[in-house]
Symmetry: C2
């Protein structure tokens, strides 16, 4: 799991999901903000981590209809020509990839065509690199602080973690 | 102009366009990679630069169907609640915004529906902040190193700069 979150201790969804995944067998959670506070990605280490993985999960909060910047920097640095694509070097070919994110606002703002648009660049990335795109999981309304909303957000986060484990193991 | 390019000296399109814009009256080019090599955005300075602008141009090379990470980090830091939106504080309301980018591969890969998808998050940003989205300009095939291709890329970049000036002045 490639986790991007600038403030994981304050997080509900991303903390719950990444903690549950970290407790599973044969999983590794790489928290980019903790590993690279200066955005200087260790490309070799990250490429080796990808090579050793069967399934790659991008876990992040949706920021302005896209990923946090550190995940984009990680992608731009790690998915290089000659490693992830081109020159007959599709080293990630056939690896499974899943997007798992959280959204602050209610789902009604995010019908399927919007989800398709905000995940287009990552689906495109995985297709370009001949990876096996397994799908998108998200939970909504994660920053709702009204009565009882936090408990529901926790429930949705646990449910998303369950679905993620199912998808990984399928 | 908010310019994001990790290696502007090696650039064709972004260098030409940003240089031409810098030579116009009443313009300012802010090169994020030069200003913030460590990604630590000076939020106050950037917000003041936006407040003093009538038109804002995002100028960048398309990386993996999206912006370079530093432009995303700049957006996430600068377009804050209470400044760009929310709490009745839409300080950028009515300001004009234009996307101007360059694409490595040939245009045939990028029909209008793809352009709509790869710019959706930035159009969404501007709408959320009640800005006036003026449109998208791009030139393609910018990394084609075959015979005569560089000259054509230079022509397309000059032409994009001209269109950009027209759009700014309209």
């Amino acid at each position: 799991m490639i986790l991007a979150h600038p403030n994981i201790e304050e997080s509900i969804g991303n903390k719950i999901i990444s903690n549950i995944i970290a407790q599973q067998k044969n999983t590794e959670v790489r928290h980019l903000d903790q590993l690279y506070p200066d955005f200087k990605i260790d490309i070799k280490t990250e490429q080796e981590a990808l090579l050793s993985a069967e399934t790659i999960v991008f876990q992040y909060p949706l920021f302005w209809y896209s990923t946090p910047a550190i995940l984009k920097e990680w992608i731009d640095q790690v998915f290089q020509y000659g490693f992830a694509f081109g020159a007959n070097s599709y080293n990630l070919e056939g690896k499974k990839i899943i997007l798992s994110f959280t959204i602050g606002s209610p789902t009604t703002d995010y019908p399927q065509d919007i989800i398709d648009k905000i995940t287009f660049h990552l689906k495109g990335l995985s297709q370009y690199c001949k990876m096996d795109f397994l799908g998108v999981l998200f939970c909504n309304d994660i920053n709702n602080y009204t009565d009882g909303a936090k408990e529901k957000a926790i429930d949705r986060s646990n449910s998303q973690a369950e679905k993620l484990i199912e998808l990984i193991n399928q």
